[in-house]
Symmetry: C2
Subunit: 328 residues, 2 copies
């Protein structure tokens, strides 16, 4: 856990300062954790983007409030450090989770550059919250369920080729994808590029959900498909969820199956496994079964690599059983 000791460049404060990075979750009172509320209550100073300050206004009486605008993350972190050096307890608030495109990373970068260490007299605590991908997903059904990723389309700090390479990789490998910062007044083309990249791998009718202001008064949910993503109504407060190749929309709910149909007759529950499969055991196409299959096939690494869409060197290594023991 993160702990505390003496600050480097100020005289010791009478009481120990503290910085709490608080994830508010989606921004409704009901979805705050008890720890998030307690951390804000504990704070002398609360710093955050004006929308988040407003969201928790009734918890802020008597506290110093510093409102910062969107592009001032580093300044907020520096201000928090200054107050903490004076012995104050500071809550830096973010919507969602502070660790997800939030204040946690920048704050540590600033703290380290300023000579702070976890042994310093300033304690740092990160209070986790549900991120937009979880809260938006909860409103549309069960789109995540299986392997997923989050990609920010903001190129304010990240080169476009890096973003494009990531989009292509996850579209190829069939992840459910949450796009953060999908579009703004100045950045309207990145979502078009993202669509183009996804269409290299994903069907045009792939389900897409667009959720704006989850759990807040102006909440809005829309479903569309990959084909129409570029012209969809998407703004600064939207999160875009792109389904994988198994995701379906039914009765207004977006659901990504967990894979039970690979093993069970779903409606009959866990008693009804399909032929050759066992409850609680790896699939016949799980690691051990797959290794047996490819080793018994007599086929080349190149052929198998093409069939399974895996790197050839990886398949070549897999074809060679380790000396001695059978695969587990």
């Amino acid at each position: 856990m993160l702990s505390a000791a003496i600050p480097v460049s100020s005289p010791p404060a009478p009481t120990a300062g503290k910085i709490m990075l608080v994830g508010l979750g989606p921004g409704s009172q009901a979805h705050l954790t008890a720890r998030a509320r307690a951390a804000i209550a504990e704070a002398d100073t609360v710093i955050g983007y004006v929308t988040y300050i407003r969201l928790v206004a009734e918890l802020l009486e008597g506290k110093e409030i510093i409102r910062k605008s969107m592009t001032e993350e580093l300044d907020r972190a520096l201000e928090a450090l200054e107050r903490a050096r004076q012995g104050r307890k500071v809550a830096l608030i973010s919507s969602g989770d502070a660790g997800v495109y939030g204040m946690a990373g920048p704050t540590f970068e600033v703290l380290f550059q300023a000579g702070w260490t976890p042994d310093a007299e300033i304690e740092v605590e990160i209070v986790p919250g549900a991120s937009a991908l979880n809260t938006c997903a909860a409103l549309v059904g069960a789109p995540l369920t299986h392997d997923f990723c989050a990609i920010s389309l903001s190129d304010l700090l990240t080169p476009w080729p890096t973003i494009a390479r990531r989009l292509d990789a996850v579209a190829y490998a069939d992840f459910v994808v949450a796009l953060y910062n999908p579009k703004s007044g100045r950045r309207a083309q990145q979502i078009v590029e993202a669509q183009r990249i996804f269409l290299r791998h994903r069907r045009a009718d792939t389900p897409v959900a667009i959720v704006k202001s989850a759990y807040r008064p102006k909440q809005h949910i829309a479903f569309t498909t990959l084909e129409h993503l570029a012209e969809a109504d998407i703004g600064m407060l939207s999160t875009v969820l792109i389904g994988n190749s198994n995701t379906f929309v039914r009765d207004g709910l977006m659901v990504t199956p967990r894979g039970y149909a690979n093993k069970y007759e779903v409606a009959a529950g866990e008693r009804a496994t399909l032929g050759g499969e066992q409850a609680g055991r790896s699939l016949s196409t799980g690691l051990a079964g797959w290794l047996e299959t490819i080793r018994a096939s007599g086929r080349s690494a190149a052929e198998l690599a093409a069939e399974y869409r895996l790197p050839e060197d990886y398949v070549a290594a897999a074809l060679t059983p380790p000396p001695g023991a059978a695969p587990s």
Copy 2:
């Protein structure tokens, strides 16, 4: 939002049944949201894995409690549906977030197969919670910060080639990666394969954090590197976080930079942009700048694709400005 009407195959119940899929977060009282507590309080019946039932035991007085073991997710969903058809309010509890490798997906699969629709008299609500990747991240510093993904190493329901392909794609594209279900008594080889795949792309000294039982009494945090991942102590209750190529560990904290160093002199805050960069604007290597650069370069799509590690057809399309308007 998800709503309610008449069930298909039972006589109408006197009161409307309800199924609430509740994410408990990491499993400490402090990290429950107000809505999660309220949903459990509202329930007549609470169904869940015995560990989660125990975690919220003090909220369960007077309720019907159904404990299920790990591989009985479909059965739990069927039982919830039965109770809800009788007009009961049922809370299906998961640790973390119900939508992330949790009960939400399987529950909807079961409900749809049983003929339920959102207009049925059984309302379904998903109460989001912070998932393991967020709560584990909060304990080790700020490892997520930038684009990340979650991959389950469980091949009980997913073919190994699918998992391997995903691991390779995200290692190549430099995501921070959270491995769920990394290892168990029966599945000890998958983590070794994952390490091998990552080493194709990531340095051997890439930081890795292993967090067990986050925010619970037996919490344990360990740092290691990719090189030593295969022999690390990892169990059923562990989440593994693998850093990207910029992630560093310093003073016992794992931090992935947000990219501020691409634009700013970090210690001086937002006033000190590096040459050619502007606060609040895309990087010079953002989409518009990159398109200008490649179009002015005179180089072929093949050369540029190799340099930027992007698909050649994507680069070829990008080299051609759309007729008329300049890129936004």
